[in-house]
Subunit: 300 residues, 2 copies
């Protein structure tokens, strides 16, 4: 297992971690500058942040700062209710793929979607919609179909896809792939040769509770382990989405999990992704990044 | 599958559903009267409610009203940090067993505990404690040891134990048994003969998301299916503990799940258990019970 204690060369910052400090959006160019100034070598930006700054400008800035991506957030949301919504979903995923290519991402992260209509959307003013149905098995079938379709497009572009199993508390609205086992079953069905074109993003927050976690990380192996995300599970957790903890402040045994992931062959970045409305998003962005560096050395 | 549409003979009320209406505790004797007055034949009371009213008085009232139990809430919380806390845990579980016997419960429901120290306790004034460690594998080992010990005591008293897998969002503080598969592995290890002494409580809220659910319900079979709890998963869910929905208001396909459970041999009560600080606990208790009856007929 790599020693992280004396430097932060394997730290990546998911840019949602500092996306809105004290109520003010931190624009992506400012986040990238702040990361580079601290010797952080990698980031994982979100599509809306990239769009706000301009794809070409971000690509140029990344190159100028010698920053690389640990992933691109995100494609997916494959579930649909009709032909029109399926078509819109596919077009959006193709755009995500092309953006990931432009930014030289190592993978496009997939949050696969839950029951269609359930997720808060910009179109609905941020309000959650009413799910169109209760058939999670149907949603899972549509996800398998969606990943299969996108994989063909992704292979053409040589852009790996990383399915991110989300915590079961997001099964209804965000992702109906909820365990490593389920994600890897999908990988095995669609990419039996373990070509590297399809794998998983292992996010400690989503999977730490799983009794099968160690076995499934081993099963994934190097070819399927495309990303590793860290933060912490707080006790108590006061919000289902925006109360993630800084590494070391919660109950996840991160070094143990990183040991399993590295034993299985992963040698990439530990990407910090923290949504924290009441705590970390209320602090000065530089303080958050400095804390990520310190905790990365001591708690990951 | 039984037809629930024309009566509510298979409805049971978990008494937490109406435990504190509009900020005022509804005492258990009042809840029992209100249930009996509506032709509800079964309840599942909580230990603190029974203790407040007196065990003998509740036993007499149940008999007088011809009410039976669908389960008794609850034993468990098996994880510990030292000999003293282990001893206190065991003594408390023996009291729970004896109370279950006095009340002629069909089973004692087990919420097995998470990381020791994490759960809000009366001793700590209701504030969550700081977990004593991050080793969920150790917690699981202690749970297996605790269930094994209690099972011996329960066999002597002929009181079945029902392990309730809790949603993974409670893994840290309430129960580190989080899937049917995990609970049934424990049952198979400790009761390989499927004697009826050890089984599971299937709560739709905790397990609805599980891709293995149908297979695991089949695996459980009649001997292991000791209780069936219903409520609904709301979108959005605004609180991890006290924002459960009334059946029909959320995304769980309850009839489908009940069909699986009954196909596997279960023929007991559908027990309604709703913790709802902002909605159902703010209503008049009789209205809540009437709604449970109506939804039981239409949505379960």
């Amino acid at each position: 297992m790599r020693d992280f204690s004396s430097d932060h060369r394997w730290l990546s910052i998911n840019t949602a971690t500092v996306r809105k400090q004290r109520g003010e959006p931190w624009p992506l160019p400012k986040i990238l500058d702040a990361c580079a100034a601290r010797g952080i070598r990698a980031v994982s930006p979100w599509r809306d942040q990239v769009a706000a700054a301009g794809l070409a400008a971000i690509a140029a800035q990344l190159e100028a700062l010698d920053l690389e991506l640990s992933g691109y957030c995100r494609g997916g949301l494959f579930t649909y209710t009709d032909d029109a919504s399926r078509r819109a979903m596919r077009e959006d995923n193709l755009r995500a793929l092309d953006e990931a290519c432009t930014l030289n991402a190592p993978c496009l992260v997939l949050v696969v979607g839950g029951l269609p209509g359930a997720l808060a959307s910009h179109a609905s003013g941020g309000a959650p919609g009413r799910p169109a149905h209760r058939d999670i098995a149907l949603a899972r079938t549509q996800v398998a179909e969606g990943v299969a379709w996108l994989l063909d497009e992704a292979r053409t572009r040589r852009m790996p896809l990383a399915i991110e199993p989300l915590h079961p508390m997001y099964a209804a609205d965000r992702a109906c792939v909820n365990t490593m086992s389920q994600a890897l079953d999908l990988c095995d069905a669609l990419d039996p040769d373990r070509s590297g074109a399809l794998g998983v993003a292992v996010d400690a927050y989503h999977v730490w509770w799983d009794p099968q976690l160690q076995a499934q990380v081993q099963r994934a192996g190097r070819e399927r382990l495309l990303a590793f995300h860290v933060c912490d599970w707080l006790v108590p957790t006061t919000d289902l989405l925006e109360d993630r903890g800084m590494m070391g402040d919660g109950v996840i045994d991160l070094p143990r999990l990183r040991g399993w992931v590295e034993d299985a062959g992963f040698a990439g970045y530990s990407e910090v992704e923290i949504f924290s409305r009441a705590n970390w998003w209320q602090r000065e962005g530089g303080e958050v990044l400095d804390t990520c560096i310190e905790r990365h050395r001591r708690c990951v």
